[in-house]
Amino acid sequence: MTKADKNDNNILFQVSDQLPHDLKDLFQPDSSVSPQMDWAILDRAQQQLQHQARSKRRWLPWVVSVASAAAVVAILLNLDFSPVPAPVDQSAHPISPVLAATDIDYSGRVDILDAFTLARHLETSSQPDTRWDVNNDGLVNNRDVDYVAMAAVRLEKGVL
């Protein structure tokens, strides 16, 4: 390195103390806002807020309408529109095996006389007919009588 080069380096590092202040003044944004600008910004902000409020109010009827429509659809879906079933023509259907089993006297219907007939049978017979084990518990006893009697008074009897 020559003597001349050393002198050049010294020159580069010797800057004025005023330089940072000058640079700051030069590039710092102007922070002063005029009152007119301030009012304009506030006015603009108010307009924006009112617009948002109007937008919300504009949505409200739509939300209510959609919710009401959904409610109506939900109610309609919950209602039972299935047609009332026509009375069953008992003669057109085969007798249910379960009900037929309780028709002890073969009268074609299950009533208290079936239970009465079975009760009399149990009283008079030492070996009850196993066909009358209507509750399928392997025994023919008063429980079968009760079973038949309850079948006789059942409100929804089916086809018998």
Partner: protein, 161 residues
């Protein structure tokens, strides 16, 4: 996006809540002789059932009772006056709280009633002020040998409470 989510939530909540609110509310618990919360006057009354089998012994009976007007609920069934039918008869428990019931009983003993006897008492809850009318149909009246016998059935409404 947020607004759409809120709207969707409202719709879903409406779909859930509205059908529940649209369902008829269960009837309020009632007390005897007073109005319930809906303002419906309710009273309780027994309905005594009589069968007259004339000079024949009554070994079995079955009848169906229903209200043809007025609003009632069946709340209980009691046996009759004669020892042969003092036990509560057979009936479908599903008939309770409804206005229709099938009642039946039999007895295989030798001590059987003749003539007119009270064979059962049906306890009712009468809703409202309209006096109910009933239809009663005797489907079985049998002698000890199991054959049908001519018999008549009548009912008497007891004192309301």
């Amino acid at each position: 996006m947020k607004r759409a989510t809120i709207t969707l939530l409202i719709v879903i909540l409406t779909c859930i809540v509205v059908p529940v609110l649209a369902r008829p509310a269960q009837e309020d618990t009632v007390t005897s002789g007073v109005e319930n919360k809906k303002g419906i006057e309710t009273v309780f009354a027994p309905l005594e059932i009589y069968i007259d089998s004339g000079d024949q012994e009554l070994a079995a009976y079955q009848f169906e009772l229903r209200a043809v007007s007025g609003k009632i609920k069946i709340v209980g069934v009691e046996g009759g006056a004669h020892p042969a039918y003092q036990e509560p008869p057979y009936y479908d428990p599903a008939a309770l709280a409804r206005d229709r019931i099938i009642i039946a009983a039999f007895n295989t003993s030798a001590n059987l009633p003749q003539g007119k006897i009270r064979i059962a008492t049906v306890h009712l809850q009468i809703l409202g002020t309209e006096t109910p009318d009933y239809e009663i149909n005797l489907t079985v009246a049998a002698s000890p040998d199991g054959s049908q016998i001519p018999a008549t059935i009548t009912l008497v409404q007891g004192e309301q409470k």
